[in-house]
């Protein structure tokens, strides 16, 4: 099992966007008075999830064992699904739909996490099947 995994590579790229995005363009805004609301913590949680996803998908890209790779990708998929529920469901966001956390962060992160989960799942299934056929 040395084959390159496109699923893991896509997940790595997406998790990099999640990680960097959560503290920059795609993150919550800082209020004019310097204070921050719960949306700030949603952004921090997404930063953590993004980092976890990056580590898992990078490891999945590097390991040679098919079952190990599949396991890592499935774990990453679960983390990405968790990421979908962080902004708005698990952690409250601001009360106005026009605020950046609702207008930008939530839709962007939902989309990115969903795509990451999809990449991880397809990559994981492919790795699992490949490992099974090599036995």
């Amino acid at each position: 099992m040395k084959r390159f995994s496109p699923g893991a590579a896509a997940a790595l790229a997406l998790s990099a966007v999640i990680t960097v995005g959560s503290v920059s363009l795609l993150g919550p805004c800082v209020h004019e008075d310097g204070s921050f609301g719960s949306c700030h913590w949603a952004g921090q949680a997404l930063l953590g999830i993004g980092l976890l996803l990056a580590v898992l998908s990078l490891a999945a890209l590097l390991v040679k064992d098919g079952r190990l790779r599949a396991g890592m990708l499935f774990a990453a998929a679960a983390a990405a699904i968790l990421g979908i529920f962080v902004p708005g469901t698990l952690i409250h966001l601001c009360g106005m739909a026009t605020m950046r956390c609702r207008a930008v962060m939530r839709p962007a992160m939902t989309l990115l996490c969903a795509l990451t989960a999809l990449s991880c799942l397809t990559g994981g299934i492919a790795a699992y099947r490949k490992a099974g056929s090599e036995k």
């Binding site: 209020h31 009360g95 106005m96 739909a97 026009t98 605020m99 609702r102 207008a103 930008v104 839709p107």
Partner: protein
């Protein structure tokens, strides 16, 4: 393997070539579907604004700023707080031809704790109002009590929740349907609640007095409905003459401004889509011609084995149709992922009323985009396929000897 599946096999076993074509056609579908949803939403938003603005004339304080501020409030949901003497309401009512005149009072909250932003509070008089009430009655049929508020669709507070405005605890009793306008970000209350809020604001050091007038009675806007048979322009001039430090704006002229911006944006989007299509079409034709040249030998072999020109043309057409169908679906999907979740962002950036069309309209747009993409893909390949089917297989097979 059947002959039918030969086209599918050709596509699947040349993944590089197929993906390039799929991506190219996806770009076509993405631009036309994404663009038409945005333009459709703008049109829908405009219709919504038109039906929401049930007044013929709107009277606002005469300062240039307040007029702009009012329009921005309506279109973009920015905060507006401007006032005029409440006596102007009686003066307007005295003008011949005025059927209804309803006052509204605006207040921009300090950072309300619900939203971490200033929100616009709009007070209206349930007795005379014809502007907000029909809309509110869709979601809340009872009289609004003191400190009861109804929130616009973009204020993320549920019914029963408490919003604190200048430390007054206001209870959310209803949520309004989306209009796609700036009215969606406001909070609505009756005039006595508004009075309490204004007093609370003053206690916090925020003054809302009309500078030249010490009267306590202040209003921000008057919505006027003109009696049938009266000329709106004439009534407008009459109101202008009767009131003090006010300017009467015809709703129609305000809508014309919006409709002009709308046409400008629609035009830009249409030009952009046109340019993308033209470019993609040229690239597609070139791509198909190049692919056809590369596959000349393959087609010559098929002719040698007994494939007729018509069968060969059909096969090429089928391949390109399948490619563009896949590309079209991918494009529509990508556009959906970009346009729908970011509706609010697009609306804020455009600064115009923006309301998503019905699911039926969106489905129709998606199908149309898909059909157009498949048509263009097939059209682009048909020239290449025609040229190929005329090629003499004997000559082609000799070329590589």
């Amino acid at each position: 393997m059947k002959r039918r599946s030969l086209a599918v096999k050709n596509l699947l076993r040349k993944p590089g070539r197929t993906s390039a074509l799929v991506i190219l056609t996806a770009l076509l579908a993405l631009s036309v579907f994404g663009g038409s949803v945005v333009v459709g939403s703008l049109r829908q938003g405009f219709r919504s604004l038109e039906s929401r603005l049930g007044a013929d004339i709107i009277v606002v304080p005469s300062s240039a700023q307040s007029k702009v501020s009012f329009q921005n409030m309506l279109l973009q949901g920015t905060n507006g707080a401007f006032y005029m003497d409440g006596k102007n309401l009686d003066r307007v009512r005295e003008v011949a031809g005025v059927e209804l005149a309803a006052p509204q009072v605006f207040l921009a909250s300090l950072k309300a704790d619900c939203c971490s932003v200033k929100i616009q509070v709009i007070g209206f008089d349930p007795e005379t109002d014809f502007f907000v009430r029909p809309w509110i009655e869709q979601s809340y049929t009872r009289q609004l009590g003191d400190l009861d508020v109804v929130v616009g669709s973009k204020v993320e507070s549920g019914v029963g929740e408490i919003i604190r405005i200048y430390d007054e605890r206001c209870k959310v009793v209803g949520r309004l349907a989306a209009t796609g306008t700036g009215l969606d970000t406001a909070v609505y209350c009756n005039l006595s609640t508004m009075k309490m809020l204004l007093t609370a604001a003053e206690e916090k050091g925020v003054s809302h007095k009309v500078s030249s007038d010490e009267s306590d009675d202040r209003i921000s806007a008057i919505y006027v409905k003109v009696k049938d048979g009266y000329d709106i322009g004439a009534v407008n001039s009459e109101i202008q003459g009767h009131t003090r430090k006010c300017s009467a704006v015809r709703t129609k002229s305000m809508l014309t401004d919006v409709s002009d911006s709308l046409s400008a944006i629609s035009g830009t989007v249409a030009t952009l889509i046109g340019a993308i299509w033209l470019l993609s079409l040229v690239i597609l034709v070139v791509a198909f011609v190049m692919i056809a040249n590369e596959r000349k030998r393959e087609f010559a072999v098929l002719r040698l084995l007994g494939t007729s020109r018509a069968m060969l043309g059909g096969m090429i057409l089928k391949e390109s149709a399948l490619c563009s169908l896949a590309g079209g679906a991918l494009g529509v999907l990508t556009a959906s992922m970009l346009v729908f979740p970011f509706t609010t962002l697009i609306e804020t950036r455009l600064g115009l009323p923006y309301l998503r069309p019905s699911a039926g309209t969106i489905t129709a747009l998606a199908l149309a985009a898909l059909a157009a993409t498949v048509m263009v893909g097939s059209l682009a390949s048909s020239w290449a396929s025609f040229r190929l089917s005329r090629v003499d297989p004997g000559t082609v097979l000799r070329e590589g000897n």
